[in-house]
Amino acid sequence: MAQPLVKKDDDHDDEADYSPFLGIEKGAVLQEVRVFNDPQLDPRRCSQVITKLLYLLNQGDSFSKNEATEVFFSVTKLFQSKDLGLRRMVYLIIKELSPSADEVIIVTSSLMKDMNSKTDMYRANAIRVLCRITDGTLLTQIERYLKQAIVDKNPVVASAALVSGIHLLQTNPEIVKRWSNEVQEAVQSRAALVQFHALALLQQIRQNDRLAVSKLVTSLTKGTARSPLAQCLLIRYASQVIRESANTQTGDRPFYDFLESCLRHKAEMVVFEAARAITELSGVTNRELTPAITALQLFLSSSKPVLRFAAVRALNKGVGCIDLLVFQNAQESDLVMGLLELVYFDPVAMTHPMAVTNCNIDMESLISDQNRSIATLAITTLLKTGNESSVDRLMKQITNFMSDIADEFKIVVVEAIRSLCLKFPLKYRSLMNFLSNILREEGGFDYKKAIVDSIVILIRDIPEAKESGLLQLCEFIEDCEFTYLSTQILHFLGNEGPKTTDPSKYIRYIYNRVHLENATVRAAAVSTLAKFGAMVDALKPQIFVLLRRCVLDSDDEVRDRTTLYLNTLGGDGEVVETDKETKTLLFGALDIPLVNLETSLKNYEPSEEPFDIDSVSKEVKSQPLAEKKAPGKKPTGLGAPLAGPPSTVDAYERLLSSIPEFLDFGKLFKSSAPVELTEAETEYAVNVVKHIFDRHVVFQYNCTNTIPEQLLENVSVIVDLSEADDFAEVLSKPVRSLPYDTPGQTFVAFEKPEGITAVGKFSNTLRFIVKEVDPTTGEAEEDGVEDEYQLEDLEVVAADYMMKVGVSNFRNAWESMGDDFEHVDEYGLGPRENLAEAVSAVINLLGMQPCEGTEVIATNSRSHTCLLSGVFLGNVRVLVRLQFGIDGSRDVAMKLAVRSEDEAVSDTIHEIVSSG
């Protein structure tokens, strides 16, 4: 039998789980607190009880208000004891109890006494406790002592005052700011930690004064900071100054020499802080970067995991921007060239990979690091920066490593491999091999989906990879436990399989599904078979045989589909060429958002007239943010189904067509979301919906009277067009009567020139006759008074003429649109907060639907491509490709490429952008 190596000492050997707190109970401990009231205090026993109280709090027990108050008052008695150890425990428990303002008063005098004590330890701790529990009024009383304490010759006391000052700056900035002189003095302190704390406080006091911070850094970088921590602070402040001066200064970079000198500091934390700061500088040159990369490289081979981790992470972060650039644009080389133009003002992005590549050899040894976090970081960094020749070697190493890591890491690796593959299409074979190998191994849904998505993307973008990729997917569905993935793959097979050289080899895999799977997968398999039948005439007879076997399936969806396909594809024996129309009917993309279709079907009343699918609006309603899952920067391989709230477009259309005056306006193009024209909880609540027609715009004002004692009659809206020249009012339709809490609609219609994106600002006044209502009888008086109520202004903007209509495959749509009416131009958007803000501003300006998740921007990225799609007034389809770049001074440049079915519309989009 194995003996424990170290023999524990005597006492409690038999009790494996011995704890002095075993069986401790809050109630009992609260009883024990009584000893604090003894006239003859026993300091040891009191300390013991406080420890028990602290133990309870620390384990998550909470005291009720009364209990805490009682403990607090008992504790205050302990200030009578002169025992130093006990006093320390008293300080601790007071901080834990966080007493209320009234209670604080009780200990204030005791603590102030301690603050002036001769014992340093009392002074330091009393300051910390008092500043922790005090409020502003008390602070002015003790301010004098705190200022003294800051320059106290005992470092512990000075630090206590300085750290308290950092906290107090949040609540009482005006008081703490008066201490500048003392803090300045403390910065010169010989004690290491005092300097650190003083520096932190001083920077906080002056953080809004750029010049002051700059001066502070200048004066301190000349001397030496005493402690590594203080040195790290200096590096941070110096790089802050560098960042902020980036806009104003050109030429020499201030403080770079200081940062560089810190790379030779003896403390590793300082070296690392400096190296990290340099890699994060914008516009850093290769020469400036090299020493930092070299320093990080040394860390890579350290024996300490922390150093290796920190170094890999800094290198990984440093290449982030490049990764994104390569990733998004590997497919389109012309686009990369365009982007290079845009990012030329950002040399970091260009020089980084070179510098980091030098480290790659060191990093490869980290793949087998014991610490999995380090290994994964190393892998993804290598995948980001690796070159074509190292791909095979990397794949080999990663294969050994995959089985050891958690799914979440595996997904990161799979995504990195996907981008690598797009970067080096020639290497698709080994990457595809890798993906298919890991696809066969154990894994959860998200991991499997990431792999399948990657294979799908590779098939889509690398034609050579198609056949082998499809076969891998076929193999996978033979043994796939996820219904979702099976159906998605079957769908994909149906689209891609018939286009291959030998479509027949996929049939077996598909037909197996009909035998072996659940109803959902069977139905998908039947559809896929039918697709093969429709597209590959040679296979038709065999497919029909297979389909006929499904006619008697136990599930009605499967039977229905089979019957439909057999009938439409001519399965009654003759081999006919399936015409294009049938194909479109069966397999064409449904360009209608499903929610819109659903609403229309619900609204459809059974009648002589058949349901007309063309009447369903194609506009994608914007989704509420909460439901929106950020799809990340990766393009989704198997598109997620669109979801959204039920559409109201149909309801609007019926409402408008019930008004005879609007009938000759033609077909409604688009209705906006309601815009509120009143504040919440005012007398009258009014919002407006903008209905856009070819030559007309109709405002629908939804009015609600929120005053029970009033009846409104003849309610209309008077619109002033002085800031909307292109519009002419043609009609106003008032509401006869608007009783309390019953919404009513009044309409105003305008004419506008056809084909012009007329914009303007409309000021609105609600006009009505108000009649008093007797609250008891509910009868309104005979006579009313005419009154007006000012509403907010309303604008018609360019986006109102654009419908958000997405496309499923932007690239295909873009290519099939052709460049006949392409219009490309570049714009400067001026300084912006960040890229994300600039992108969303342009999306909102145009009012188009972002495609393939390109509206999401990785944080801190310096360039971005956004794809938009929409339908412009007159039912003209428009596609837009936006390329953004941001430089060090946050100036955003944008390249706008528009393709549409009408040259005038392409030009209009540019006009919108240039005037927006």
Partner: protein, 206 residues
């Protein structure tokens, strides 16, 4: 007996317990100075020996326990006995080191300088080792829990690093049980520690 009269007013006082303890990490936007989010000392089953949170990231005790549980599960198998280990966890950087049945953790934000956090962990670990002397295990830690609480109190104040030098930390903790009139400089740390230990082991939980 200056406190006696106050006691009479005891019942009259409206005691509103202030719950809003200012959270450092919330207030400090930006990376002006290093901030520690929590320091944990857990046992070999992931149960608390002593923990201290300085950030609002885990507002309730349940959230704290959940964090400790999953952190423990994630790290328990790693070998953090010779060198401190490091991991990313819930967008935080966590450094940890184990000895016997004690697990030491220090957590900071994801953009924190890893080596500064490592210094905090080292300070925590070494000062506890100094205070508990040879027997750095759970039983010894629980028996000297007051020293551990004081130790935590001396390392970080509401997220701000107070001290990372283990000798200084242990010295400050140990000085408590000595005669306040004797200046610290006249005693070596060893002496101070000896006094402290003797004092506490004798008195606690007799």
């Amino acid at each position: 007996m200056e406190l006696e009269p106050l006691n009479d007013r005891f019942d009259l006082l409206v005691t509103k317990r202030s719950v809003e303890v200012l959270s450092f990490v919330e207030i400090w936007h930006g990376d002006s100075f290093p901030v520690v989010k929590n320091i944990l000392l857990l046992d070999s089953e992931g149960k608390r020996v002593a923990v201290k949170y300085y950030s609002d990231d885990w507002p309730t005790n349940t959230a704290k326990l959940a964090f400790e549980k999953s952190l423990f599960a994630k790290t328990m198998k790693s070998n953090a006995r010779t060198e401190a280990e490091i991991t990313m966890f819930d967008s935080n950087i966590v450094l940890y080191k184990f000895v016997q049945d004690l697990h030491f953790y220090v957590t900071g934000g994801e953009d924190e300088n890893e080596l500064i956090l490592a210094a905090v962990l080292q300070g925590f670990f070494d000062s506890i080792s100094l205070l508990l002397r040879s027997n750095v295990d759970k039983r010894e830690a629980l028996e000297n829990l007051d020293l551990i609480f004081l130790c935590l109190d001396e390392i970080v104040e509401r997220g701000m690093i107070l001290e990372t030098d283990a000798n200084v930390i242990a010295g400050k903790v140990a000085v408590n049980s000595m005669d306040p009139s004797a200046p610290l400089s006249e005693q070596t740390i060893g002496q101070a520690l000896a006094t402290a230990r003797e004092h506490l082991t004798r008195t606690l939980f007799q």
